[in-house]
């Protein structure tokens, strides 16, 4: 099974809309994984029906046992995150502020503090109306995406794809170049960069490409909103040539992107006549390379 990861560096370039359009185009022979877990939006378009789910635990959270606590305040002084509050003469941990570093746990003279695994959300395997299944996660309030979570979503998606004999895993990655992105690239066969013709689009493309180059993963690039700044678009094209990234298409600015996502539709469902040929051409070019 080939693993293709869609990344952008910059957020808001149209990455998820393009991922959903490809899922619509390819329909059956793939599994889609939404690894942009803390800003997941594929489910808005693919409207998945969860067929199975599992709780996900990550990171630690401190908890103070009021029976053992003598309210000496050492933990409150030690905490770098101001996560310990004194309420009604009792020290308590604020769940949203605690980073789980364990400093308080180690300094407490009464051993009144414990570190507990935190339930941060759920994984789901869901069916979509396109015939392909979606593996995604739902994070709780204040929970964070991580390399661990992305690795887990990908490994569930891979096992699921193998079981169903699918040939392709399409991963919607997260923006940036941090741990979740590194984890989404690890094990990937091919990268699709989605950028836009803006200075930050170009700069973030360069940054994320630097990361991808470390992993030696080949890739292709789609330049979205290519007509909003022809000068920058031109710079992006030259960057792609220099870095030997396959340029698979320029997409002009289109109101179809926000319209489709607000209606819960893919671009192809929004306007098949226009978008089907666009994505067919893009997919043909990429298919030859993987």
């Amino acid at each position: 099974m080939k693993e293709i990861v869609i990344i952008s560096g910059k957020g808001g370039t149209g990455k998820s809309s393009i991922c959903a359009a490809l899922a619509d185009l390819l329909q059956e022979d793939l599994v889609v994984a939404d690894c942009d877990v803390d800003a997941a939006d594929l489910h808005l378009i693919l409207s998945p029906q969860a067929s199975s789910s599992e709780d996900f635990y990550s990171g630690l959270i401190a908890s103070i046992d009021p029976d053992k606590c003598i309210n000496c305040g050492i933990c409150k002084t030690a905490c770098r995150f101001d996560a310990i509050e004194l309420i009604n003469d009792q020290h308590i941990v604020s769940g949203l502020d605690c980073e789980g570093c364990g400093y308080c746990y180690h300094v407490c003279p009464q051993e009144a503090i414990s570190l507990e695994e935190q339930k941060v959300g759920q994984f789901m395997i869901s069916e979509t109306r396109f015939g392909c299944d979606l593996v995604h996660a739902h994070l709780g309030i204040g929970a964070d995406n991580s390399g661990k979570l992305v690795a887990k979503v990908k490994s569930i998606a891979k096992d699921h794809g193998k079981k169903l004999n699918k040939n392709l895993l399409l991963v919607d990655g997260s923006p940036g170049i941090g741990c979740p992105v590194i984890s989404s690239l690890s094990g990937a066969d091919y990268v699709i960069y989605v950028t836009e013709a803006s200075l930050s689009g170009l700069s973030d493309l360069q940054r994320v490409h630097e990361l991808v180059a470390k992993f030696q993963v080949p890739g292709a690039c789609i330049v979205n909103k290519a007509d909003i700044n022809p000068t920058v678009a031109d710079k992006i094209h030259r960057f792609l040539t220099r870095e030997k990234i396959l340029h698979v298409g320029d997409i002009p600015y289109s109101e179809d992107f926000p319209k489709a996502i607000s209606m819960g539709r893919t671009l192809i469902e929004e306007n098949s006549e226009w978008w089907t040929p666009v994505f067919t051409k893009i997919w043909q070019a990429i298919k030859e390379k993987i």
Binding site: S58, G59, S146, G147, K148, L149, A151, K152, C179, I182, S183, L185, S186, G187, A188, L211, K214, F215, Q216, V217
Partner: protein, 113 residues
Amino acid sequence: MRIIFTATGPDWDALIDPRFGRTDYILLYDEEKDELSSIDNREIMEVAHGAGPKTAQKIHELNPDVLITGNGPGGNAASILGQMKIKIYIKAGGKSIRDAYNSFKNNELILGG
């Protein structure tokens, strides 16, 4: 020579895990002793951040001469491995450990890192 493989299982028939930091197993083949040993690295699944440097640390302790892997280590892991005298071969993902070793002996692997 001491050769490290990132692997999906503990023996010669396992495949090269294309992932470096989150590899399931770390295999060590000691050519002089003709001995293949394995370290179960699956606890890495529970690590939220910094999987690459942690795996690099484990590999450092094994004092190897060669690393054979898939995508190759990322920036932080690469800077740790850079401190060691180790040759890193990449793009062996999906090969069996036996095939990857034979390819290495025949100079068919790609030097990376």
